[in-house]
């Protein structure tokens, strides 16, 4: 068991993610969010359990379902919410939206609208860390669907060949958009694919946050010590649709209800109570604080102005290039 501070931190992170996502769903259904959003509800244990062992300076690479990763790595819900609402105070000044949130100041190298688009960016961050002898680790979050991309193969092979400090975290949430993993993934456990790259592959119950935490800590420590990459698979479930508004014709409600009963937050609460780490009232206080934080984030976002239309032309190129002769 990790120490009490760590346990409380992990629990608080899970609650903050859930609260954030429930609010995003509400705002989307109220027509306040342009585009579309992919919610992380049900998968909170993965981001929270993994990021608890990362240093501030470590890197993560995220997915289209990335809000949880952002919060777990330390991004600000205010600026996330503002970005999701398309406001100028958002992380990307309204140019990215839900699928492209990044916070380079906390090592969050970006969500990615391309499934499997992040693998090799994580490999590059790990290569850079190794070349700079910085001791940093790069974590790549991805889904069972992304594990079928060719990018997965090239990234894991290269990370293994160069012994890079990279941890590949598969959030196996059972569905690639509408396609079940039982139909589209050649193996039951994605972690089995690690054998093909000569690296450790570990499968854990992704709704048991302490199991995720322990496995991630071992993988991250190994990477930091120069022991190379790990493929860590967390078996979990996407409680909500692929996107808000998904008619979800590809799955039975009974299946969703079965997984709801395995809610990672409820399970962790039972454990925390049983171990005497937190009392009911303390957990309620954490939830109330999360609600306040997220409401404040919504106010900040709603009160923030939209970008000036001509801001569409800024940030395409970096203009303060180094040295002479650089393009403008």
């Amino acid at each position: 068991m990790p120490d009490r501070n760590t346990l409380v931190h992990i629990y608080t992170t899970m609650v903050r993610i859930r609260t954030f996502e429930e609010k995003v769903e509400e705002l989307f259904l109220a027509g306040k969010i342009p585009g579309f959003v992919h919610l992380y509800i049900g998968e909170e244990a993965v981001a929270s359990g993994v990021c608890a062992s990362l240093e501030h300076s470590d890197y993560i690479v995220s997915t289209h379902r990335g809000h949880g990763h952002c919060i777990a790595k330390g991004a600000s819900p205010r600026r996330m919410m503002a970005e999701i609402l398309g406001k100028s105070s958002g992380y990307c000044k309204g140019k990215g939206g839900s699928m492209h949130i990044a916070d380079f100041s906390v090592g969050m190298l970006g969500a990615n609208g391309v499934v499997g688009g992040g693998f090799n960016i994580a490999v590059g961050a790990a290569l850079s860390a190794k070349m700079r002898r910085s001791g940093q680790v790069a974590v790549c979050f991805f889904g069972d669907g992304a594990s079928n991309r060719g990018t997965f193969h090239e990234a894991l092979n290269m990370a293994s060949v160069f012994d890079l400090p990279c941890v590949f975290v598969c959030e196996h949430n059972q569905y690639a958009s509408t396609t079940p993993a039982t139909y589209s993934v050649s193996v039951r456990d994605v972690a089995d694919r690690a054998v093909g790259y000569g690296i450790p592959g570990v499968t854990v119950d992704g709704n048991d946050v302490l199991a995720v935490y322990e496995a991630a800590r071992e993988a991250i420590d190994r990477a930091r010590r120069g022991g190379g990459p790990t493929l860590l698979e967390a078996k979990t479930y996407r409680i909500k649709g692929h996107f808000v508004g998904d008619p979800e014709k590809y799955r039975d409600r009974s299946e969703v209800e079965r997984w709801k009963a395995k809610c990672p937050i409820l399970r962790f609460e039972e454990r925390l109570l049983a171990e005497g780490v937190l009392a009911d009232a303390e957990m309620e206080a954490i939830k109330a604080a999360a609600r306040r934080e997220i409401l404040e984030a919504v106010s900040f976002a709603e009160e923030s102005p939209y970008p000036d239309p001509d801001d569409a032309f800024s940030d395409l190129y970096v203009s303060d290039a180094q040295g002479e002769g650089c393009g403008r």
Binding site: K93, G117, N120, G124, A125, A129, R132
Partner: protein
């Protein structure tokens, strides 16, 4: 001034920039132990070691993807594509990731990345090793496109590309690697976004770049014997494009041939011709004529290849059409 090859010029650029900045490194297939399949990296690991001159698996996706990740985290990678044709294996990394990251993250990130892509027709390399694909990338906002024609420009532009904080695609024609030209011993840069008038002339403007610059110069030599003076404008970079230099020349000559080795249809020449029509229509005395490879894959057999790839003759004919 001393003369060195295009290949040596790029090698000097690499070495100078790697010496100047410890974050510059190069990764790609067969570059360190082999020295590059065109010898363009020969000797580089002797000075910089096998980490900064990094041989990779055959994984173009991972080469460019890792270069993106390294660029985002404090390095200045140069990724070699072996053949420009293989950028197709890294299209997501170039078009969806590298080109977008600075913009869609609202300017938080900088992406000092160079992708080197040896392109063009050489020695019956056939359909999958002969293409010139620059137009695809001109169409994706967020990239810079550099495409030099001489050893001098190759060196100065490669150094500028490495120092640029934006993702740069650097297309180098395979048939130019062995070409010699004057390159000063002392350090210099060639700015990205400046065209160069390689030969002045009053009668016709030939807007061109890469290997076609040399074919245009040969054509201009021939035509001069008949009293037709062709001004050869070497764009050197397609994004940003120095359209001012082009328009200045067009206003003088009033006639334009646009020439590139890439396929004619949808080529960069179409963009150049359209821009001239928009900006200088009143100056034109004749329609803009485009010269490019005919719209088939590059065939293998020498007579087939010669039939579809434009050389001096096609430029001469294009000029004669409008004078």
């Amino acid at each position: 001034m001393r003369e060195i090859t295009f290949s040596q010029a790029t090698l000097e650029a690499m070495a100078e920039e790697m010496r100047r900045d410890p974050t510059v490194f190069v990764l790609g297939e067969d570059i360190a132990r082999q020295g590059g399949i065109f010898g363009q990296f020969k000797g580089l690991p002797d000075e910089f070691g096998y980490e900064r001159v990094l041989d990779t698996p055959i994984s173009e996706t991972a080469i460019v993807g890792a270069a993106v990740g390294a660029a985002l985290t404090g390095m200045r990678p140069v990724a070699d594509m072996h053949f420009a044709d293989f950028v197709t294996c890294a299209m997501d990394e170039i078009a969806n990731q590298a080109a977008k990251i600075q913009y869609m993250f609202g300017g938080q990130a900088r992406l000092p990345l160079v992708v080197r892509a040896p392109d063009g027709v050489i020695k019956s390399a056939a359909a999958q090793h002969s293409q010139s694909l620059e137009a695809w990338f001109v169409h994706v906002p967020g990239l810079k496109i550099v495409i030099p024609s001489t050893p001098y420009d190759a060196k100065g532009l490669l150094k500028a590309a490495i120092r640029d904080d934006n993702p740069v695609l650097y297309f180098e024609h395979k048939a130019l690697f062995a070409m010699k030209g004057p390159v000063p011993e002392e350090e210099y840069l060639v700015p990205i976004g400046k065209a160069d008038v390689k030969r002045p002339g009053r009668d016709v403007t030939c807007v061109t770049y890469s290997i076609m610059v040399h074919r245009a110069l040969e054509a201009a030599e021939d035509l001069a014997r008949d009293g037709i003076e062709v001004e050869v404008v070497d764009l050197r970079t397609l994004v940003p494009m120095d359209i001012d230099t082009v328009l200045q020349s067009v206003r003088k000559t009033k006639k334009v041939v646009v020439a590139h080795e890439a396929c004619r249809r949808g080529g960069a020449g179409a963009e150049i011709a359209a821009t001239i029509a928009e900006e200088a229509f009143d100056y034109l005395d004749a329609p803009v004529v485009r010269v490019g490879t005919l719209d088939v894959p590059i065939p293998f057999s020498p007579p087939l290849e010669a039939r579809v790839v434009p050389r001096k003759k096609e430029i001469v004919e294009a000029v004669r059409k409008i004078v």
